[in-house]
Subunit: 454 residues, 2 copies
């Protein structure tokens, strides 16, 4: 697992260190490892993060999971708890290549992503059926990860799957951010925004979460099925108005939200609601957790690590210039950190497509940095998606160095032209030794970028 084309990327000692750091980031985000780090069986006691639970208090243990990482999270939880789990069910995106036979107790169902479908609803009803088996003497472990909003849904009366799909299409293309999108989704649902708990009959609940939302807002990851909702029907209404969608969404959606604003259908449970008394939500893998692991490993390798941001955003080519400006300052002044230095960043840049090329935001960021660090020495930079997928390519991202410009010149390739044409993948493919290939990792804690400077 992790980087598959290691040998191709081993150009210098610094590249070797970079590969170790990338793999460390992927390891930290690995659902199996994330679960094992946080869940442990010691005799009849279960440790979940910093809590210890006496399993003797519970008659049954159920596992419910949603999201792209739910299969691997289920593997993790079975590897720790197989003996004590009674039943389980996870909902994965259709098309994910998983071998369901690897799980002994937990069944795999499928939904559609990014737009919910009839399969989403059917699988969700199965999940709810299992959820309803719980009672006060049940311990329920809920596994939550990105994609869960589309994969898990039970609809209020009068709203069709078709209406829901239409709403999702409008929202995802509107420019609204994930918090705004999920504010609306939570109010057109009977399971989102803490409402899954309404089916669990007061069971003891541990929700283990892999965050793909920049900022790690628990209530917005997979629309927070186990988290108190701080948003309201009115907020949902305002989002739709803000993005000019109020008149475009299906009538059934408008009516639902109207009723909600008028107080005629119940709000989602809010912070302080007794529904959350026996519920704990824990993030077990996230961007900042991965960045901290990388920083620790970088220190072991002899670098002075500095995490700059876990909220990285902005147009990739411009962000690249800014990162390069920090690299130059480290080179010249040992500022903001002494050489040998590891600058570590996470988040998600954007790419405004202008050209007709093939690439992804991580590869484009790396290309921009490569252009701006040309002429320096002993600098290696990498950017990659922890899900292993960057844009519509088979690469997770790219590793560049202060020598990339020279390699390109030797190969008569013009870096700036490829950047202009959003064609980073083609460039790196021609250049060789630059693409990071991992395959789909089955997890996602956003993108990570690392600069090593000697």
């Amino acid at each position: 697992m992790y980087i598959k084309n290691v040998n191709e990327l081993l150009i210098t000692d610094i590249h070797k260190d970079m590969i170790e750091l990338i793999n460390e980031g992927l390891r930290s985000a690995d659902p199996v490892i994330a679960i094992k780090r946080n869940v442990e069986l010691v005799g009849n006691k279960l440790r979940v993060v910093d809590e210890h639970v006496d399993l003797g208090l519970y008659e049954r243990v159920l596992v419910l999971g949603i999201g792209k990482a739910s299969f691997k999270m289920a593997q993790g939880i079975e590897s720790v708890l197989e003996e004590v789990i009674d039943k389980g069910l996870v909902i994965m995106p259709k098309g994910a290549k998983v071998d369901a036979s690897l799980l002994k107790k937990i069944k795999v169902f499928y939904g559609n992503h990014p737009y919910p479908s009839h399969d989403t609803i059917r699988s969700s009803l199965e999940l709810i059926k299992l959820a309803k088996e719980a009672n006060k003497r049940t311990l329920v472990i809920v596994l939550i990860s990105g994609g869960g909003s589309a994969l898990f849904e039970v609809l209020p009366k009068g709203i069709s799957v078709h209406d829901l799909t239409k709403l999702n299409e409008l929202l995802l293309k509107s420019g609204a951010d994930i918090r705004e999108v999920n504010t609306v989704r939570k109010h057109v649902s009977l399971v989102k925004g803490g409402q899954l708990l309404r089916y669990l009959n007061g069971a003891k609940v541990y929700a283990l979460i892999i965050s793909d939302v920049v900022g790690d807002y628990i209530e917005f990851i997979a629309s927070g099925p186990t988290a108190p909702d701080t948003t309201t029907f009115r907020d949902a209404y305002e989002v739709l108005v803000r993005y000019g969608l109020w008149d475009k969404v299906p009538k059934s959606i408008r009516e639902r939200i109207k009723l909600g604003v008028e107080g005629k259908v119940p709000e989602t449970p809010k912070p302080g609601d007794p529904l959350f008394n026996r519920v704990r939500n824990y993030i077990v893998a996230s961007n900042i957790i991965a960045l901290r692991s990388i920083a620790k490993k970088a220190k072991e390798l002899g670098y002075n690590p500095l995490i700059l941001t876990s909220h990285m955003e902005g147009e990739a080519r411009e962000v690249g210039k800014f990162i390069a400006s920090i690299i130059r300052t480290v080179k010249e002044h040992d500022i903001p950190v002494n050489k040998p230095a590891a600058l570590i960043m996470g988040g998600e840049t954007t790419v405004t497509v202008r050209g007709s090329g093939v690439g992804g935001r991580n590869q484009e960021l790396a290309l921009s940095v490569a252009i701006s660090i040309a002429g320096l020495r002993d600098v290696v930079f990498a950017s990659f998606g922890t899900d292993g997928i960057d844009g519509v390519t088979d690469a997770a991202g790219a590793i560049v160095s202060s020598e990339t410009m020279n390699m390109a010149k030797d190969a008569r390739l013009n870096l700036k032209e490829y950047l202009e044409n959003n064609d980073s993948y083609t460039l790196f493919k021609k250049l060789g030794h630059h693409l990071i290939i991992t395959g789909a990792t089955g997890t996602n804690v956003n993108d990570i970028a690392i600069a090593l400077i000697r």
Copy 2:
């Protein structure tokens, strides 16, 4: 001097600290203060930075200056050395409001900026005439600052002022960076690229430099009249070819460079040339020097300072998002530095004009940050040009805070619309309490940005 509209900007305690820090940056870049910090008369000994010179060894002291800060640098040097200076001459941009009667020994001449003119040449010949008075028993203090490339020129035979102006127009509009531009300029000149020393007859030379070049490359600041030139006629040729200018520049320029490439006219003096044996170049004010001063002052005010970059570049609105992402990470995780924190940055962003508004890169950067930090608390951000001029406005930059978005909402102003329209100045003007007004400061060490986070 410094910020003129302080009272208007004193909104919170954090704003108060911010104003102190901005003024500290302006103070550090002030030519008079920069000279006094580095030049001191102790009895008959002169301290220049870390060197001590016995003035008894010299019969005369001459001062030669070029650039936008040369008048204030001359004031600084007279305030320390008026008694011992014999003669001096500085070349300022025409139109600069200076009171030449404030100088006792040093005369003020004028040239044109950014395109050299007949005045440039006439004034430069006066400077050379004075330079030639020097000999081995002369101590020459050379004052160098931004704008010097256009203000100081002696042309090789056969090249007219008109040809030179044409060359400069082509270069400055080509997209070539300042190092590329000055590589060409140095090879179409008899004074740039260390060649001023050819007129000084082996005098002892201290060049005191205020850097307006990101990266502080001495040989490129004002085209390095006292610095060894690492570039060649061939480099100059390649720059002209790279930007498609070779066929567009006047024939006399092509011929000059051709002769140079063929070795038929002398190269500029290179590192190791005996011409530099008695020459020291010192940067007395620069972006990084100002950033360090600000960091020191921030520490005194109780903040944990972190200088991120002195090479800041990229599109202002995107750089703003990235800076805001670091601010958020400080807020949430005390990373990369503990709260209360001062993030300090320098360099020069760019603005791609799309709208028809009024603004400058510093105000646009501040506006972008204001949008991205809305919803946080106790964050104040400022960006300003140390020359006191941002774009075509009367402001040096702007101070924004985590409350700016709310203030705008109350005033029914839409920040994003103003950003889209490149209309940051109009917005801040309407909003009040945001524009930093200093007037022209008579110096330039590029832009500075500061974020204070409690």
